[in-house]
């Protein structure tokens, strides 16, 4: 592949997978600027390393895996906190739409979860990857995915219960 083809391939990759990567990474790192940094690093690695793929599915999985490793590294070096700023989310939403409060609450609660839980929930329940694919992309065992799905659900359920009880009271 010559330089011109590589450039075209990079643009196509950004066009095809950029938005998906943005959504997955945003919920992990919780702000637009870190998300964009991660996408830039992921695609730079793609551009420099020139990995070979058997299929588009393989390529998609590679991009998610690399971006998730970068998310993990970033989170490792940042202070742990569960606070999510509403304005950081609103900044990435189109202005002309009205959003369901319940969805926003859900989104915030999910974003507040520990990386290990939200990563499996996003990939499995929202992006609809199978347990095996999720395990492959996150480089963990299928048992670990299932355990984290279970624990993540439990944690979210408790948050909902607490939220709704407080609301009723």
């Amino acid at each position: 592949m010559n330089n011109q083809d590589r450039e075209l391939d990079l643009k196509q990759t950004m066009s095809t997978y950029g938005e998906m990567l943005f959504k997955i990474c945003f919920i992990m790192v919780k702000n637009k600027y870190d998300t964009e940094d991660i996408i830039q690093e992921t695609l730079l690695q793609y551009y420099v390393d020139k990995p070979k793929f058997d299929s588009e599915v393989h390529k998609k999985a590679w991009l998610i895996r690399v971006s998730q490793n970068k998310c993990k590294n970033l989170l490792k070096y940042k202070k742990r906190h569960s606070y999510v700023q509403l304005e950081k989310i609103e900044e990435c939403l189109p202005n002309d739409k009205i959003y369901n409060n319940e969805d926003m609450e859900e989104f915030i609660e999910l974003a507040k979860l520990d990386y290990k839980y939200k990563s499996v929930i996003v990939l499995h329940y929202i992006e609809n990857f199978s347990v095996e694919e999720t395990a492959d992309m996150l480089e963990i065992s299928q048992s670990a995915v299932k355990m984290r799905l279970k624990r993540g659900r439990e944690k979210l359920k408790k948050t909902y219960e607490k939220y709704y009880v407080e609301e009723v009271l």
Partner: protein
């Protein structure tokens, strides 16, 4: 309505990655990309600088240095704690005396720990068809030169850091799971093994060297999983490869398939044989099966799980069924932890978290129950394997959830930590941890050492120190 019920969320679906940002990033990449791989480290440097500005830089550097220097001995946690104690003492949470006395063992609990008769053997294993050899390892001769095997070549890569694990000193058997430590080396009987990963083509290369000499390549393994467990027994290193299990003999440099997924696995029920141990003659496997909605791969559709365990004789290629249990982890010598599917209700239909756990002793294809650790027990903390006492590698930690909810499921708000010593066949209680007393949602022990355990709750880790009964943030 939750994600797992409707599978979508308006906010997530509408997150917008602007075309302007996309174009800017592509331009940046093209600019940086023309500088080759150096640009990656440049980006990393940029991040460090950025973090320094955010005043996290100092923490990052200290943790990194601590990680590099302590990781080989598993001391990273202790190191960070030591740092934390020395610099952040103001963060102590006054939660002394929140853990019950270790003397308060209920009679119910004592009953549960009643020893399983030493003579009990599993029914399925009584039919031993051959003389079981008790393998004794012959010492690896120090003068033995490694011969080159398939495609043996010296690595050009400089080994910057001598970061290896010694394993269980004095033991025949050594187990190393590279899942979380893919870049680490391991040392077995004077031989050091190194494992490298090539992400671009999903291959893994295995190297060996002796007495600090140059590394020689043993094999290249292609796999989409990182889950490699290497077992060293005697002169042999066993590891999963493309189509089964391979054995590499450090003395003769012979490399061979000892288990073939396509033929040998057909003697087993369940899916994906997963090796948990090896001797000179036997490999030990577990498989699982699920009752599953055929149209779905979703774990929610799994309504039940069943375990199967086997001993595989590498010489005769015969498989012996060891029972409806799953190997959880190897402890030491011939001792393993095994789990059963609970008979009570459990929350995750795909894979129970807490299970009846047994310590068993295996000799060839004969299995013997040594101890029932608990009906609702857990010992592979955070799916990373058993934790050993630093002073005694025959002593492991485990936890038991002793309460149940009205629906029969386990109540995770209370857990009791214990140790089990295989030499004394003795269980000792460390502490009972209660979520209410700590203000946590439930007790989820992420890690445990002789001195403290780490609890995870709502994105925050806490440390409970056994001696002082202090409950503290854990960084």
């Amino acid at each position: 309505m939750n994600y797992w019920e409707k599978g979508k969320n308006q906010i997530y679906d509408n997150l917008e990655f602007s075309t302007e940002s996309q174009n800017r990033i592509v331009e940046e990449i093209l600019k940086k990309g023309s500088n080759g791989t150096d640009s990656l480290s440049e980006l990393d440097s940029k991040r460090v600088e950025k973090m320094k500005k955010k005043e996290y830089g100092d923490i990052f550097k200290k943790v990194t240095v601590a990680s590099l220097s302590l990781i080989a001995t598993g001391g990273i946690i202790a190191g960070v704690v030591a740092y934390s104690n020395g610099n952040n003492s103001s963060k102590k949470i006054a939660a002394n005396a929140v853990v019950e006395s270790t003397e308060e063992v209920s009679s119910d609990l004592i009953l549960k720990e009643t020893e399983v008769e030493e003579t009990t053997k599993m029914e399925e294993t009584t039919e031993v068809e051959e003389t079981t050899e008790v393998e004794k390892e012959t010492e690896v001769e120090e003068t033995t030169e490694l011969k080159e095997t398939t495609e043996v070549k010296e690595t050009t890569e400089e080994v910057v850091e001598e970061d290896y694990e010694e394993g269980n000193v004095g033991k025949d058997f050594y187990y190393l799971d590279f899942t979380n430590t893919p870049d680490k080396n391991t040392k077995v009987k004077g031989y050091e093994f190194k494992y490298e990963k090539n992400r671009s083509n999903n291959t893994y290369s295995l190297f060996v060297r002796k007495n600090g000499g140059e590394y020689k390549k043993i094999d290249t393994i292609k796999s989409k999983f990182d889950e490699f467990a290497f077992f060293a027994h005697g002169n042999k290193l066993f590891y999963p490869s493309d189509n089964g299990i391979k054995a590499y003999d450090v003395k003769t440099s012979k490399l061979e398939y000892v288990f073939d997924n396509t033929t040998d696995a057909s003697q087993m029920d369940g899916e994906r044989p997963w090796v948990y141990g090896a001797t000179n003659n036997y490999l030990y496997f577990s498989t699982t099966s699920h009752t599953q909605n055929a149209a779905s791969t979703d774990s929610e559709a799994w309504t039940g799980v069943q375990y199967y365990s086997y001993a595989f004789n590498m010489k005769t290629k015969k498989v012996t069924f060891l029972g409806n249990r799953e190997f959880v982890d190897y402890i030491a010598d011939d001792y393993y932890v095994m789990a059963e599917v609970p008979k009570y209700n459990y929350e995750d239909p795909g894979h129970p978290f807490e299970r009846p756990l047994y310590v068993v002793k295996i000799n060839g294809n004969v299995i013997k129950d040594v101890k029932l650790l608990g009906e609702r027990a857990y010992c592979d903390f955070f799916a990373r394997g058993v934790r050993y006492s630093e002073d005694n590698l025959h002593k492991i930690f485990f936890e038991k959830f002793e309460k149940k909810l009205k629906n029969g499921c386990t109540d995770f708000t209370q857990s009791t930590l214990y140790t089990y010593d295989i030499d004394k066949n003795k269980v000792e209680k460390i502490a009972t941890l209660s979520a209410n007393k700590f203000g946590l949602n439930d007790i989820f022990i992420e890690d445990v050492t002789d001195d403290y355990c780490v609890l995870l709750d709502d994105d925050i880790s806490y440390m409970y120190t056994f001696a002082t009964k202090e409950f503290d943030y854990y960084d």
